[in-house]
């Protein structure tokens, strides 16, 4: 998601204090903020603590000195609970071990994503970027108040009280106390408006290694996900979805389903039939026993190959202009060498390890939801409409998500509404847990859109790149959603062209245009969104041009990146660390080896990767090594940055090698991990991550590790075999 353009981040620290100054001040009584199951496992809340100091919406300090950081962003693996806690602990000078994290409630007044205006949610690799000042300020305010309280009690000047690893210290009088001893007094003080933040040189946690806050719970099976919620009297719902997008229920026979022990009820919710059971297995058997007649009159019935053929035809004519500089057509006519290529990208499923699920308890005029909650404001609004409840009466418990990759921030709140509709269909008489099977999850749509690209470029007699015409065809993610006004401008959905319309290479004559066909297959952002396809077409084509110009792939790029120093730096770093230009060790007999590079900016972070590949005699290939350089500004947690690069590379590799959702007469062909494969441990290459030291404000790392991988791999395969693969997934024939 790239709504980052709508930046209401305060421009100065003074504005910022104004913003945070409006936040709640109050005592937090034990249990007053419900420690949800997920929060509880890693937060153990403040049970039994008699008083707590809560200087703002992000920090609570108990009389037992436990510091609880309230995380406004979903922890879905990207390490954000740890990152947010790092920011608070840094300015609070807390001891890392005294800090725990709990998920924030839905409350956009306090917990909005500062890069998304008044909207609460997680995505677009914005979590640390939008929280960097906010949470450091939250920690600094808490620290200042504790210092004042201690100074007051000790009768010493506040400036002489220091804080170190969770201890308040007055050196001259050898006084030394815990936070807990002053929480009562601190809570009575006014919130300071004049605080200062640390200089980077004084950081004790930022940029250093701290262990993840969720590491223990996740290594012991104790972390609680939506899948693990069990409420008293709860029923499990398993649904029958229509075989095609757009079908509705014409009628159904539930007799056989109701015969199954453990099945309690069967309800139609319009576009699905739900079987409710006392446990998952009964409900699933009931679902499988349903006989349903579907109304297919509005169903989507094309094959994916037919969709691609239509895109191909569309690409022959000009689209809406996303960027135009100079005169590409004239320049192409004068070019010495013209090269063109077409690229095909399939639909992709997110396939998070935890299939989509949700728990809804529907009360009178209120409702409570347990979910890997990624899109609080949108989900509250959608639920409010469907249930006839005002949005603020809908309590959202944000649990850990077993991956998301964008899926849980669904612009239509699809699976959440499905669960709510089931709860409504039984008049809220029991809490409902909706559990999708893997097959349901794979076939429910909201895919990374299919795309077709063409690029035509011209080189002059000296091999200089003088013209570039890039055309993209693919569904808009934003159109038809509540985000349309924000995402789609002048017929251009920014998420369709990001990475292409901001091509960093200096080319005097350049056009990027876009067709956004309307197709009845639901689409959605998928880890790194537009850059999942734009990085591939641009970075493989630039490579092809380098070869055509008879130049080295790195040197060719560097010459065109004169205005983009951050691209240059990661490109050079990755190339140097990978030994670019040195001969690769040869493979075994019959094997060919190659090295490829790609650089791409996404979500304001810059990543370059060098991939080494071995192509075997049977045309299969193995990625041996990936060298990755990343510039994400200040790396708040360098180890998590590395982890996100490693994971992003593995995630990208699944898509590059295997990923494709295809349709046959509108029916999704794939169902589970045998026909929608993801890489396993034996396929994972060596990964080396190098972080560019930086004093710039931090930017995201959840997504930017993904885009450069596939083009670097395709370039490596081309280097090894001379074959240019332009259709994803990458298969040598």
């Amino acid at each position: 998601m790239t709504t980052r353009k709508h930046n209401i981040q305060p421009s100065s620290r003074r504005d910022f204090i104004k913003l945070i100054g409006g936040l709640t001040l109050g005592f937090c009584l034990p249990g007053s903020r419900d420690a949800t199951a997920a929060g509880a496992t890693i937060a153990d809340a403040n049970a039994g603590v008699s008083a707590a100091f809560e200087p703002n919406a992000f920090v609570r300090i108990g009389a037992d000195s436990k510091v609880t950081v309230i995380a406004k962003h979903l922890e879905m693996g990207q390490g954000v609970y740890t990152g947010l806690a790092t920011l608070v602990a840094e300015e609070l000078d807390a001891d890392w071990d005294q800090v725990s994290v709990e998920g924030a409630p839905a409350d956009a007044k306090h917990y909005n994503n500062l890069l998304w205006g008044p909207f609460q949610g997680t995505g677009g690799s914005t979590a640390i970027a939008n929280s960097f000042d906010q949470l450091r300020n939250a920690g600094a305010i808490a620290r200042a108040m504790l210092v004042s309280a201690a100074a007051g009690q000790w009768g010493v000047p506040a400036k002489d009280v220091s804080v170190s690893r969770g201890r308040l210290i007055h050196a001259a009088t050898k006084r030394n106390a815990s936070f807990g001893e002053f929480v009562v007094h601190a809570a009575e003080l006014p919130i300071p408006t004049d605080i200062s933040l640390k200089q980077a040189k004084d950081f004790i946690y930022i940029g250093k290694h701290v262990p993840r806050k969720d590491g223990k719970a996740k290594a012991t099976g104790k972390a609680i996900f939506t899948q693990d919620i069990r409420l008293p009297g709860m029923l499990t719902g398993v649904v029958a979805h229509p075989p095609r997008f757009g079908s509705t229920v014409k009628g159904f026979d539930a007799d056989a389903a109701l015969q199954i022990p453990g099945v309690v009820d069967v309800v139609s919710i319009g576009n699905a039939v739900a079987v409710l059971g006392n446990d998952f297995w009964s409900a699933k058997k009931g679902r499988d026993a349903l006989i349903i007649k579907w109304n297919d009159s509005n169903a989507f019935k094309l094959d994916s190959s037919e969709i691609m053929a239509q895109y191909n035809i569309l690409a022959r004519g000009p689209g809406a202009i996303a960027r135009a500089e100079g005169d590409a057509d004239t320049a192409l006519r004068s070019a010495k060498k013209v090269i063109q290529a077409a690229f095909e990208f399939p639909y992709l499923a997110h396939a998070a390890m935890e299939p989509m699920n949700c728990v809804v308890r529907l009360g009178k005029g209120e409702c409570e939801v347990w979910n890997g909650e990624q899109f609080q404001s949108g989900d509250q609004m959608a639920l409010g409409q469907v249930l006839g409840i005002s949005p603020e009466k809908i309590k959202l418990n944000m649990l850990f998500a077993g991956g998301s990759f964008g899926r849980r921030a669904n612009p239509a709140s699809d699976y959440i509404l499905e669960c709510a509709r089931i709860a409504k269909a039984i008049n809220g008489r029991a809490p409902v847990k909706l559990v999708w099977t893997r097959e349901d999850d794979m076939r429910a749509g909201y895919y990374r859109p299919m795309f077709y690209h063409t690029i035509k470029a011209g080189l002059d007699a000296k091999g200089n790149l003088i013209a570039w015409k890039h055309r993209l065809v693919g569904q808009s993610i934003g159109t038809g959603t509540a985000m349309e006004a924000m995402m789609v401008k002048d017929g251009i959905d920014h998420t369709s062209v990001e990475g292409a319309s901001n091509l960093p290479y200096q080319i005097s004559n350049l056009t990027v245009d876009l067709h956004s066909p309307v197709i009845g297959v639901p689409v959605q952002w998928w880890r790194s969104v537009g850059s999942t396809h734009t990085a591939f077409s641009t970075e493989t084509f630039i490579d092809e041009l380098a070869v055509a110009a008879g130049k080295d792939a790195v040197a060719f790029r560097l010459a065109l990146l004169t205005k983009h120093p951050r691209h240059v730096e990661v490109l050079k770093l990755a190339a140097a660390k990978a030994g670019w230009g040195k001969r690769l060790a040869p493979g075994a007999k019959g094997e060919k080896r190659g090295r490829g590079i790609a650089v791409h900016e996404s979500f304001n972070s810059f990543v370059a990767q060098v991939v080494e590949v071995t192509v075997k005699a049977d045309k299969s290939y193995k990625v041996d090594r990936v060298v990755c350089a990343v510039d994400c500004g200040i790396a708040v947690n360098p180890d998590i940055v590395r982890a996100q690069m490693e994971g992003g590379i593995g995630f990208a590799m699944s898509a590059a090698k295997y990923g494709a959702i295809t349709l046959n007469d509108g029916v999704v062909d794939q169902s589970n991990f045998h026909d929608y494969r993801i890489v396993n441990i034996s396929e994972m290459p060596k990964v080396e991550v190098h972080i560019v030291p930086s004093a710039k404000a931090p930017t995201g790392v959840g997504e930017p590790g993904v885009p450069p991988f596939a083009p670097a791999l395709a370039n490596a395969i081309a280097a090894a075999t001379g074959k240019r693969l332009r259709k994803l997934p990458l298969v040598l024939v």
């Binding site: 996740k218 290594a219 099976g221 998952f280 297995w281 994972m684």
Partner: protein, 151 residues
């Protein structure tokens, strides 16, 4: 009624005999550490030890468990498992964490048999445990780290 041994305790369950062990554990025993990922033996998120062997609990009907001793992630408490869990934390292996119970169960079975596993041993023992977050680099390193700590 069917009786099974889970984490050293005999448990009586009133479920249909075809109910997969996974759903018995999750919905009836209340042990939710073993996860549902695919339901057909492809992902390993549901891995448990059955007499010490890592198996896919989603694909074993409870009626087929018999007298086998089942150990879930919650019941991993020997030296091998503890050193793996320590290595997992030391190297911050987990991302979303959803697959990690299964990874640890399979890694425990491996390390109990092979105290000094090679890369090929790790591949063979863990390639049935998928991780969508692709934490594989660290899983491999953590298995080796734990092996080293056990020497």
């Amino acid at each position: 009624m069917v009786q099974i041994s889970v984490n050293g305790k005999m448990i009586a369950l009133d479920v249909a005999p075809d109910t997969p062990l996974l759903w018995c554990l999750r919905d009836h025993v209340g042990l939710t550490g073993s996860k549902y990922g695919c339901g057909i033996g492809l992902c390993g998120a549901c891995s448990v030890l059955m007499d010490g062997v890592s198996v896919r609990s989603c694909s074993i009907p409870v009626s087929a468990v018999g007298r086998a001793k089942i150990t879930t992630v919650e019941g991993l408490d020997d030296k091998v498992a503890k050193s793996l869990q320590a290595a997992w934390q030391k190297l911050d292996v987990s991302q979303c964490g959803y697959c990690q119970s299964g990874q640890l169960v399979s890694a425990t079975a491996l390390l109990r048999k092979k105290r000094n596993p090679s890369d090929a041993d790790i591949d063979a023992a863990l390639s049935g445990n998928l991780c969508r977050c692709a934490t594989y680099v660290r899983i491999r390193a953590a298995v080796k780290e734990a092996a080293k700590a056990l020497l």
